[in-house]
């Protein structure tokens, strides 16, 4: 049903493309900047926000791994139910559904639970991974109370034709293959990326729930993954550009039991997802750009556990149609406006009937440089209608002041909300659980203030930024069972509030001396966060939010040799109101050597993961691997 609709949308776009081509004059010389297609239109409206971008070296090193493994070494807090298990990220004390995940401009969170399983996101599928902190992502949509994970493809025209094949073998009998091929010219190009992985995931770990904390191997965690992603870029006319991205992913995973369990485990989950984004951009003049975007995010999750006779099948779809425009106004100012319709549907064995939700929203954002671009400002607002009900208008304001070329002062403030997930609303009344159709949206506000110092020369660069943040979330939705009332099923409630404040500090330094390139990076976060379950009740620490988090890296490239050291420190975190998980240091070491073979550039690499052999848990009770190894060989076929 959904596939038919998607096909219809794509067909309609093709018809529209033909019509517009016929209408345009060949004498026009304005050429579309295809880079705009992949989200830059929105990124330029993120003024004043704290942004962290994964560097290309890191993406390359982790190309045969999941985004969860990459982000575990990064600047955010990752939660994971074991190796290859459900993994999600949190920022600034929020929960995972308060951080939205955007791929090529489209929110790909599962509308059933508001999550995105990052262990099923192979890194090689993305050309760019960015994190935007805080709730200032008004232009991306509502729901981004804590932040946004932004995943993008690259524009293809500027990429050389050719391909790349990468093979890995490592501990846990992990066998991975990733490959990408790009072919095209300056008006038509296609790229195909493939990822496959088979893993037993029987890594060693230390079972801290047993007497003497013996070393054991993870059991019942075997996984299979297959993914394919294609990008198509077509310059249909000098004023008309079309891009299409399609990404299908399959995961079949046995779910590792909690460490304390001595019982046999039978749980298995099969995930299938398909995301399609079609974007038609039309620029009638230098100052105006229109984008028509159609997208679909479809998924199915089948969970089974014969040990307790649970077999559930779930499927969802988000169908999006969006028209947005960018117009230059007010002397170098820019107004971006858009209107969006999203249809969310879900079907589950645990629902009564199917859940369906229509969301219509409109946004406008004004970006204005002042005082000869020494002052940049942005104001964004968004209104939304959900199944006919107006939701509160959300907004964000941001500003950057550049007193010198090397110094930037930043600030932003925002108000946001997140509507309940479909599970929150539509879960059937069973023996132990029940949805709550009376839930209100979560409401949040917050802001940042900070500064950035940067200095760039031909052979060196340094970038230091600091920001203080505050975030407040009211009517936080939490699933609770309350045995003290007669209706004591697990159900979601709007609890009182969560509050967090803290400090983020980022350092990025690079130097090039002859053939030697050095890059040092560090990101530190101090977060103080508390949560009150009831109005007036004692504030409790936010669970799984470390007060101190540091990630740093050192990369050296010298002629054919490469060395990378990645270090993440995660401080103590409450796992419930009274217990804490211990702090841990997680380090990865990579060495690589590049050589020519039959005219192709081949890179051989070895990575040592969890170098210091630390016991650690990202979710209490779920074992993570001790020291492990992976060997990778990469062949570059680029012409």
């Amino acid at each position: 049903m959904h596939l038919k609709r998607v096909c219809s949308i794509v067909f309609l776009q093709l018809v529209l493309v033909g019509y517009l081509c016929a209408q345009m004059s060949l004498s026009d010389t304005i050429r579309m900047d295809e880079v705009k297609v992949y989200g830059n239109l929105r990124e330029s409206h993120s003024i004043g926000a704290t942004i962290y971008k994964m560097d290309s070296v890191k993406l390359k090193i982790f190309q045969n791994r999941s985004a969860a493994e990459l982000l575990a070494m990064g600047s955010v807090n990752l939660k994971s139910y074991g190796v290859g298990g459900l993994s999600s990220l949190t920022m600034r004390g929020g929960n995972s559904s308060q951080t939205i995940v955007v791929w090529n401009g489209v929110n790909i969170q599962n509308p059933m639970n508001g999550g995105a399983n990052l262990s099923l996101f192979p890194v090689n599928m993305f050309s760019s991974i960015r994190l935007q902190y805080g709730g200032s992502g008004t232009i991306y949509g509502s729901g981004a109370i804590s932040g946004i994970l932004i995943l993008n493809s690259n524009a293809l025209f500027s990429q050389p034709n050719g391909g790349e094949l990468s093979l890995s073998y490592g501990s846990g009998n992990t066998r991975s293959l990733s490959s990408q091929v790009k072919y095209g010219d300056k008006s038509r190009a296609i790229s195909v990326k493939v990822f496959g992985q088979l893993a037993d995931n029987d890594f060693e770990f230390r079972n801290i729930y047993k007497i003497g904390s013996p070393k054991e191997r993870i059991t019942h965690a075997e996984s299979k993954q297959l993914g394919i992603l294609t990008d198509v870029n077509m310059r249909l006319h000098e004023k008309l550009f079309w891009s299409f991205s399609g990404w299908g992913q399959l995961g079949d995973k046995n779910l590792q039991p909690i460490m304390s369990s001595t019982q046999p485990s039978y749980a298995n989950q099969v995930d299938r997802s398909l995301a399609l984004v079609s974007n038609l951009s039309f620029s009638p003049s230098k100052r105006i750009l229109f984008n028509l975007k159609n997208a679909a995010s479809l998924g199915a999750i089948d969970y089974s556990d014969k040990g307790v006779n649970i077999f559930t099948n779930n499927s969802y779809a988000s169908i999006l149609t969006e028209l947005e425009s960018k117009v230059e106004v007010l002397n170098n100012g820019e107004v971006s406006m858009g209107i969006n319709h999203t249809l969310e549907t879900a079907s589950s064995d645990d629902y009564v009937g199917s859940a369906k939700r229509n969301r219509v929203s409109g946004y406008a954002s004004l970006r204005k440089p002042l005082f000869r671009s020494r002052f940049l400002s942005v104001l964004s607002i968004r209104g939304e209608l959900v199944d006919g009900d107006f939701k509160p208008v959300i907004y964000s304001v941001g500003a950057e002041w550049l007193p010198t070329k090397k110094l930037i002062f930043k600030m932003n403030a925002s108000k946001n909300y997140r509507i309940p997930t479909l599970n929150d609303l539509y879960w059937a009344s069973t023996t132990y659980t029940e949805g709550n159709p009376n839930l209100e949206p979560e409401s949040g506000w917050g802001g940042d203030v900070g500064f950035q110092v940067k200095s760039i020369s031909s052979d060196r660069a340094i970038n230091v930024s600091n920001s203080l943040f505050y975030s407040n979330i009211e009517r936080w939705i939490v699933w609770l069972s309350i045995p003290t009332v007669s209706d004591s099923k697990w159900k979601p409630f709007n609890m009182s509030k969560g509050e967090s404040w803290g400090w983020e500090s980022q350092v990025d330094w690079s130097l090039r001396v002859n053939s030697l390139t050095i890059r040092v990076e560090g990101f530190y976060t101090f977060t103080h966060s508390v949560f009150s379950e009831q109005p007036g009740s004692r504030a409790q620490p936010m669970i799984y939010t470390p007060t101190h988090r540091f990630s740093g890296s050192l990369n050296l490239q010298y002629e054919k040799y490469g060395l990378g050291y990645y270090h993440g420190f995660t401080g103590k975190r409450y796992r419930d109101f009274q217990s804490q998980l211990p702090a841990f240091n997680l380090a990865n070491l990579f060495i690589s050597y590049k050589f020519n073979l039959l005219g192709k550039v081949v890179t051989a690499g070895l990575s040592v993961n969890n170098l210091w052999n630390q016991d650690y848990q990202l979710i209490a009770g779920y074992a993570m691997p001790l020291r492990s190894y992976m060997f990778t060989i990469n062949i570059d076929f680029t012409r």
């Binding site: 047993k210 014969k306 609770l480 401080g571 419930d576 009770g621």
Partner: protein, 357 residues
Amino acid sequence: MKKSVKLMMAMLVLAFAFASCGGDDETQYAEFENGAIILNEGAYGNSNASITFIGYGSDIADNQIFYRINGRELGDVLQHAAIYNGKIYMVLNNSGKVEVASSATFIQLQTITGLVNPRYVAAKDGKIYVTQWGSWGEQGTVEVFDANSYSHTNTIKVGTGAEGLLCTDGKIWVANGGGYGLDSTVMVVDAATGAVSDTVTVGYNPKELVEDASGNIWVICSGADIYDDSWEVVGHLPSKLVMIDRQSRQVVHSLIISNTSHPAHIDVSSGKETVYFGGGFGVNGIFSVSITQPVIPQTPVIDGFFYGFNIRPSNGDIYCMVAPNFTSAGELKIYSSAGAALKSYSVGIAPSTALFN
């Protein structure tokens, strides 16, 4: 440029200084005799079960004593425990194990594994008896272990969803609680042979049993909700309080408690002449009946929603456990046998059972 590097270095030093703040809690050792041991189930799937110790007359609840003494968490869902011969046997339901520790010092001694959905434990004459549901579709069993060597000695097949058990007079009385479905029997097992000698039909889903001053057996039968295909509640099987003559194995009293409420717990007064019942998921009140003239009362001895309760044998005080939810601190409220509130304590997550050491 130099200024920028200095700034960067200063911030890195500051970052590490923050990262190294904070110290570990001091380890404290204590004796855990002469007090109540509160079992905090924890939240299912979170492996955060814990033990609270409260000395008699003390105003202090000593939380997380197993973790503090042994440096490790107990496991997932502390369903039940029993004290026997200086040892405490703790049943971790979703971990499929029984942790054994000294009941005086809580120093860990052994972990008994190989169980699937274990529920209750009892000990007598050098043997440990653990009821378990087993996997979906399996018959409930009583698993028997040697109390000294911890070796598995026998598996006794009983009814569906074996729950509470009682060791008395050479017999093991087992409540077949229904598990994933329904049952309405109590089985009597010969402790010497492990053979089921009698099956007594009681109410739906019997959960726990106690022995009164006359030696008769009282059973709390929870009843159940009835659902349609859409999981809507369309009816109820009533809850009952049943008395079985221990010698004849005949049901003497079968009293309907409620058609809609499903209490799960039972205990006896210090003199074993009054039976208390109530508590459980969403059940309001602790009620009492005389063993000689049992009539289900309309009003409870103690009003309130309690996740579990137990009677202190030496003085008859009623220890009632409150679980506001499965994420926050629970509460222990102590009442006199007449129902007067005496004290309250903040304990671990989802307290369900009190043992008296």
